[in-house]
Symmetry: C2
């Protein structure tokens, strides 16, 4: 199991952060995701056999957010 923690740009309310969390949790291979509006952090646990960080980043971006890393 792998874990990334990213700084996310573009979240402006708790609706944004809970939506991003839901988007992340729906990705196959993601086992859990925590998104914190105040600190702009997204912590994602995932199975490297099933999904990679490029795909995760792509999904965050297609939801309209930016990954600052």
């Amino acid at each position: 199991m792998s874990r990334v923690e990213w700084t996310i740009d573009g979240m402006t309310c708790s609706g944004c952060s809970s939506r991003l969390k839901r988007v992340l949790q729906q990705i196959e291979g993601v086992t859990s995701a925590e998104v914190t509006l105040e600190t702009r952090q997204a912590a994602i646990h995932f199975d490297q056999q099933r999904v990679n960080t490029a795909t995760l980043k792509e999904r965050v971006e297609s939801a309209g957010f930016a990954v600052l890393v």
Copy 2:
């Protein structure tokens, strides 16, 4: 040129609506998109030769919103 107007569920602040607008405008074949938070409406002009409504709906959903139609 075609136009759809959908009711969108899940927008909770102006950050949400401007993000969805940006997501829509980046889709190939979309010529313009207007998203209004207050009325929950998204109006999308698009070229039917290049993109269809199924794809548009999919992109809205992968951004974490729901199309109520």
